[in-house]
Symmetry: C2
Subunit: 446 residues, 2 copies
Amino acid sequence: MMPYAVIRQKRDGGAVPRPLLDSFLQAFHHGDLPDYQMAAFLMAVWFRGLDATELDVLVDAIIDSGSRVDFGAEPGRRIDKHSTGGVGDKVSIVLAPLAAALGVQVPMMTGRGLGHSGGTVDKLSAIPGFRLDLPLDTFRDQVLDLGVAMISQTPEITPLDGRLYALRDVTATVDSIPLIASSIMSKKLASGIDGLVLDVKTGNGAFMTAEADALELARTMIGIGAQRDCDVVALVTAMDRPLGRAVGNALEVVEAIDLLRGEGPADVREVTVALTAEMLVLAAAAPDIEAGRAAAEAALDDGRALDRFRRLVEVQGGDPRVVDSPADTLPRAPVQRTVGAAAAGRVVAMDTRAIGEAAVALGAGRRHTDDLIDPRVGFELQVEPGTRLERGDPVAVIHAADHEVAARAEAALRDAITVGDDTPRPRPLISHRVTRTGVEEVGPGR
Amino acid sequence: MMPYAVIRQKRDGGAVPRPLLDSFLQAFHHGDLPDYQMAAFLMAVWFRGLDATELDVLVDAIIDSGSRVDFGAEPGRRIDKHSTGGVGDKVSIVLAPLAAALGVQVPMMTGRGLGHSGGTVDKLSAIPGFRLDLPLDTFRDQVLDLGVAMISQTPEITPLDGRLYALRDVTATVDSIPLIASSIMSKKLASGIDGLVLDVKTGNGAFMTAEADALELARTMIGIGAQRDCDVVALVTAMDRPLGRAVGNALEVVEAIDLLRGEGPADVREVTVALTAEMLVLAAAAPDIEAGRAAAEAALDDGRALDRFRRLVEVQGGDPRVVDSPADTLPRAPVQRTVGAAAAGRVVAMDTRAIGEAAVALGAGRRHTDDLIDPRVGFELQVEPGTRLERGDPVAVIHAADHEVAARAEAALRDAITVGDDTPRPRPLISHRVTRTGVEEVGPGR
């Protein structure tokens, strides 16, 4: 009757006592609890949430289900960054070597894209030869030697999370804040971090479309970290338009390398600098945020970040020519199709999820976990909310495998980008900063 | 993605469109939908309920999953009674032959007891030889010939309900009013009825402890019936004390036979007469409730109901001596232990669920579906709320397999029956009558 009691207590809104919830999770982990009881429990959690103790038990159980990366008494502070996902988010590719160049150790385990949202694993996989499946001890040693390693999530780490996620994915229980928070935090904690900077996206292309949910997720993750000596700071950033101009794996690597050269779109640079500054402060590598920002700007502009990226690519087996000649080294789609504005006007709004889904339809992402990715395809957007267009002005360049899918993508992009006379009301690029002590609104001046 | 969409729509409080819900249920019925997706859906239903269309689809799917008893154009009206279950509820054993004696055809498929609540199958099984596993065609012919047949639920009828119930039972989704209503109504409709009288128990020994839930269940079942030309009338009756004096299988058969002789406790007689009167009106065998009541009273008092019971026992293979000498024919427990009042006072309250659980502990019921029943054991209660007791007055006689379990039952009974100075506030025996047109409160005068 134990599993039944756990499900019923959660269903009725009560807190499941620590030993009971722990037994329930252990039984599932060891194959002694059927999927249907866990599915009912997860749905009850979707409705009722989890309190701090329940979250603690869940995070413990997930971490303890697999290996941990143990940095022991090695000097340095390990700080990671996590984004809740969106369209055009290539920040990690810039930020990880940038932070490492400034003295932070960055043990980054990244995910694959699913649905409308891209994943860093897929982007880095566009670089010929780049290996993301390093053994955990190699990962650890590289973090200590080079200051940065970027690998894909491995089944040795938090296998219980993998099983829970697979079940959530088919039972409509993915979008539960405590389940998302515990899944992310347990993976990050198992990778041996001392601190985490969280980029919580909000807007029509984010998983958290509502700002209140984004803040709640940030607070929940900060709370989990606080229980375990892991400082978590969150920035709430805009995902009511794609981040930067490039959407699609090879195209985003090109843009990331532009940024590492001190170039590239201002919005991605700003988000990258702001997140890196938080990492530097958490790592005690900068005395305050302003100093951290200045250091990050300098390392982007003077080539130190690019140099660290070059070493990262080399040590992980990637073709080093990508750094200096990305367009020649990365795979390129056979078809480029420019989308011109159908009428004059201003870009009022961008349906970011639809843009992400249009990229998936080109082959840049996955509808199902076993779909194959085409690294070549995607969009180079030429507009953002507020851009003034004359008829025929370029809105985007589509990179596609053939003309037929390019034509469909053009239709989807035209539907997703609203051009008109209304005043666009984009979200502030960075709207909130959340720490243990509370939420600050970030001024529009930044 | 179909199952996912169904789960998500229900989770979000929307109504699942008919074809989508039907596909979902068919897929489950045919083994093409895993239990974990159904479990998540059932939990979402627990939180969100089902609207009239969804209920209709569910009831159809359950009925269509198995055989139906088809009475075709046979004359007569088939009316059944269903009780939501309680402690000491032997009404069916009296009511079925009584209604048949008055011209109603009663095709009764009854259930086994589970938890604190008894089941008619177990009570009738106390009669040596009584067969409850008749084939469906025998069942049908007997209803047409004798006017009554009482059998246990068969897997040929509504097998989908059996699978759903088994899953609900282990996922804490049993106590959902739409799921309860659709489960009961689909079984009843598949048994070929034209009308149904529902006895919805409420109080501390009922599954619906709250009156509002009892009324909601009644309204939901009436609504399902109304979609299918099946008139449903519900009486809400008291289960804040056991019904009658006997609790336990053979003991309840003895009390039922007393009632069929025009004797027995007034409360069971009153509930039986009221429910039978409703059946007579639904069958057009009485012009109104008062006439139906009078007819029922007469048939209990003049032996017609007893005579029909005698023929029922004979035709279903039971030992016919049970009718005239029940105490000698039914199995008797080796130990009788009289519980005396510990102090003078008045019976203020009876924890009816605890009394039912004490009977289960004696062996009168099941904790698990595969537990064996001891037909001999149970209680003959001597008190009801309001009974004045002097110290040592008999409170109950315990019938037990041995002295040890009898002693434990005595302790449980003493805990369950509160004796004191407070004024007891028992529920009215019959508090509400619910029909398609609405809810009437039934006066305390009845």
